[in-house]
Symmetry: D2
Subunit: 161 residues, 4 copies
């Protein structure tokens, strides 16, 4: 295949130190595996941390931006995609990913988990698990969980086989 | 104001009898209150049931369709909006609603709850409650719950005041 | 059929007096024919004029807004659809219209003519004609032209038969 | 700057031999200049030819796909972005490009010229010129023209200074 696998890393624009550290380390590992990192592109929280980790390790980083300009982009995004579509870009985030990793976050991250499951992209939550939701089914989607970046990478490797 | 309030009713394209009955009855009540009903427009599940309830009571029904044609539209949708954007239309569903009601459903419905909370639209879950989600915050969004269509309407009336 | 035909009226947010007068008169006629008027929803130019014409004649007016709020909406829009998708809403404008009428405008209006032709929606230019474009084909699209609102309505009636 | 300039190459999915040859040669030149090539990603016409030219010269190629899968993607696209948004992806094509080059094409290409002018992205038509359009203004957009891939690159270099 001519293309690298694309690993989407989702998570809060405002996140706690541990989540940021995990996102950074996962970004490093994604680049070391020669995968392409894709995220929401902004210079904040999990997006900034994961992009920096991949970038510092020579990885390719794609950021799907909500706006029409580069003003909010992380400096560690190599390929900024300017959608101008606001939160509708969350759909593109997950559709364009071969595997979606969800870090702690807010309702935007929850939407990405749900949209990924709806579109049959495998989802790995890192550092937390989604409980059973009364009244809401996750359909046929694959939903996994791991505690560390290394364990996430182990799951990704199995999913990509 | 020249405009009716717009009440979005989300829920599964494949749903149990009780959820369909509640969606139908809520559609009836929305029309009787002279509100506009908005949903995902397809002729399936909660979409079809809620549109039928409103339509049979003389209500205006707007359907935000994922496709480019009317082939999948419910016959009880008065104004079909053909987006051609697939599940990105879920964003339009919630942004265009003054209040979002979530009936039981799958990952698409979960995405709409999350997108509504992200965009500060009040959300009422009907017939179930969203539990606390470890690792995921719902931010500043308003999330309410009620068991019956009548109780949902009571909450809508308070929210619209 | 339970649904009114949807007539999309596109044109500049900044337009000359004659174009605005034609758009207003076309809006009046659309409402008198019990068709639904759809446009870009903003309180400016051709959008504001055509919505006012339809609204004053008891017509249903749908506005597909680029933003997430009602701040920019014309007061003569009955059903504002908040897309939050910027100019990507131009695609929804034309896909949701059974016939597209293009009034004079800028590049946004030109994009809507092109997107309508691409998606096989018939287009009527009012008050001007699109010349042949070297290097660019309009494909299989139907492109008509008329000088007055009355003549446009005559063409719409033929197209809807 | 950490990022390569992004050159968008638009044009017909069905195109004449000369247009395809020019698109291929422009793709080669874009890669040789270390720019990133962006197009609509499909394995057809100008998209396939320009991607192949860049790919064979070691360039990075980004394809903004209309669908949700890779089935229609050119094998010479390194980074496929799956939007699932149909022709609304045309907006992303031009917003994400620092300079847009339009090859001969159909109404989709015309829409991209118009959307680029609307969003203030410079546009270079290759092998044809857009005539003055009565009733339609191109606003403040920059619209240039050149006959050969080499001349297009000369214009791009001036625009990027």
């Amino acid at each position: 295949m001519n293309r690298p696998w694309i690993i989407g890393i989702m998570g809060g624009g405002d996140a706690a130190a541990e989540a940021l550290d995990n996102a950074y380390r996962l970004g490093c590992l994604v680049a070391q595996h020669k995968w392409c990192l894709l995220n929401g592109g902004r210079d904040a929280g999990v997006m900034a941390a994961s992009a920096r980790g991949a970038f510092e390790n020579g990885g390719l980083t794609v950021g799907i931006l909500p706006g029409t300009t580069l003003h909010t982009a992380s400096p560690h995004i190599t390929i900024p995609i300017r959608t101008g579509m606001g939160m509708a870009r969350n759909c593109i985030n997950v559709l364009s990913s071969d595997v979606v990793v969800a870090c702690p976050g807010g309702p935007g991250t929850l939407s990405e988990i749900a949209l990924a499951l709806k579109s049959d992209r495998p989802v790995i939550t890192m550092g937390f698990s989604l409980p059973a939701l009364p009244g809401l089914s996750i359909g046929t989607g694959r939903l996994l969980s791991a505690d560390t970046p290394e364990a996430v990478v182990g799951l990704i490797e199995k999913l990509l086989q």
